[in-house]
Point group: C2
Chain length 260, copies 2
DNA sequence: CGGCCCATTGAGGTCTCTCAAGGCGTGTGG
DNA sequence: CCACACGCCTTGAGAGACCTCAATGGGCCG
């Protein structure tokens, strides 16, 4: 599919397509299995479907919600990717995670009336929104949904725990290897080629997430490229030697000098 | 209170005291406000109280649950403190957090049938246990409890996010300052003197948690002591200059050389 | 085509890690 | 009650890894 010319007719057609997408119900959604409990029946599904809002696609750099945003919601990423971050008192910010297609974000807002971090699109992205207040009410009446919510929250909880595990590694090369391996696994989980990574975030974002500086990221990529472990082409990274990358990811405590 | 002599009678007396503690109901528990929704009524409270198990106190080094433990539960720390950690493929482990009196742990097990990390007592500690499977069933029938569970989970979610924020700081001194400030705030939240910290974990645990080595921790404490910011006495740390500590915690990105 | 931003690469400095030795507190056994 | 051993913590010297500063290269968009 090639990019259409910028005409009013084409724009209108694109909008129609978007609306078509937006009208897609939960029952027909490709992410069905990720969102919904397997045991939910047609009647309950309709109730859930009713409170899901499909938002207009977000452009690159657009914010989905900010620290302090009221009426928090859960969001399911239907396409594209986002990053979440918190702003530190000094002004700079720490990136907490990247959220790919099929993943859920927004759990930070459930503790109170407001979101605790900021979510921004890394590329054009579309999401489903489920206002938490309404979701909570429905979950109270649909035990299967409540249970699924606990499961999904806990899964995110465990996923978040991998961040400090990575940051705790003393060697920068191990952190990057873990990061790439993690993305590879998430590609596989959504049915894509796990060896072909699309890094939608900037080098700066990666550096921030890994607790390094941008130059170090760049040098490490060059090193991995020179050793034939990956093929780096701007935002596209092809993993050529998964086993070696895996070894780098593990050997981060003290014996990685032998591997380098 | 001095340590009693090791006699059979004293041991029996201690056990009686323990049982007395164990029989305390949720309604009378000092942690009431942390566990329970404010709106819960007497009848529902009784149902919840019924499924809470009070465990025998854990000795220092005892494990509350391990990675892979079946039938996951939530635990409320009633006294003492614990640490949670995951074991890495190479054999060493990463500490994910410390859990003080009044705090809740065990959310890692809700995603599946088993816990995903290991919890170990840092000192003699007592906890309340709530098997998640039963809690989930009751929560489905008590909307106030369900809502409170979401809130507590989300609060832990946000609390966990502070770990990578701290690890992301390039300077070791900032990480330690943030760690101490965090402990201070948690002391204040539970009604204790926020300037008097009892570090129940070893220097090795602190180093692991902060992504540093033990010698660095020791040197940083000496530096803070020499500058008059804290008074370090083995496991006891008294904060003498909270403002300066706060400044160190913030100025970690690049301008902290000016402060040191 | 030109400007701009992002990414890459190089040289030098410094913070933290590594390796090593010594001090202190605790618990155990005589 | 004291002596000893053990573990934990502290302190020092040296090396290595990453950060800082600086300049160049390459896409992307106007």
């Amino acid at each position: 599919m090639t990019a259409p010319p910028r005409s009013a007719a084409a724009a209108a057609a694109a909008r129609v397509v978007d609306i078509g997408e937006l009208r897609q119900s939960c029952a027909a959604c490709a992410l069905h299995a990720l969102c919904l409990p397997a045991s939910i029946d047609g009647h309950d599904l309709a109730r859930l479907d009713h409170l899901v809002k499909r938002r207009q696609p977000l452009d690159r750099g657009a914010t989905l919600f900010r620290e302090g945003s009221a009426h928090p919601s859960l969001f399911v990423v239907r396409s594209g990717s986002l990053k979440t971050s918190v702003t530190l008192p000094e002004g700079d910010n720490q990136i907490l995670g990247f959220h790919l297609s099929g993943e859920i974000l927004g759990f930070d807002g459930l503790a109170g009336e407001r979101h605790q971090c900021t979510a921004e699109a890394l590329e054009r992205a579309s999401v489903c929104e489920v206002p938490f207040e309404q979701l909570s009410r429905v979950a109270a009446q649909v035990p299967g949904l409540q249970h699924q919510l606990f499961r999904v929250m806990s899964r995110e909880f465990v996923r978040e725990q991998q961040h400090p595990v990575m940051m705790g590694r003393k060697q920068a090369l191990s952190r990057l290897a873990i990061f790439l391996r993690n993305l590879s696994e998430r590609r596989a989980a959504t049915g894509h080629d796990p060896l072909e990574l699309q890094l939608s975030m900037s080098r700066q974002d990666m550096a921030n997430y890994l607790g390094l500086v941008i130059e170090t990221i760049s040098r490490l990529f060059s090193r991995l490229h020179a050793q034939g472990l990956v093929r780096v082409e701007r935002k596209t990274v092809r993993i050529l030697d998964p086993a070696a990358l895996h070894a780098l990811a593990e050997g981060g405590e003290d014996e990685n000098r032998a591997l380098a």
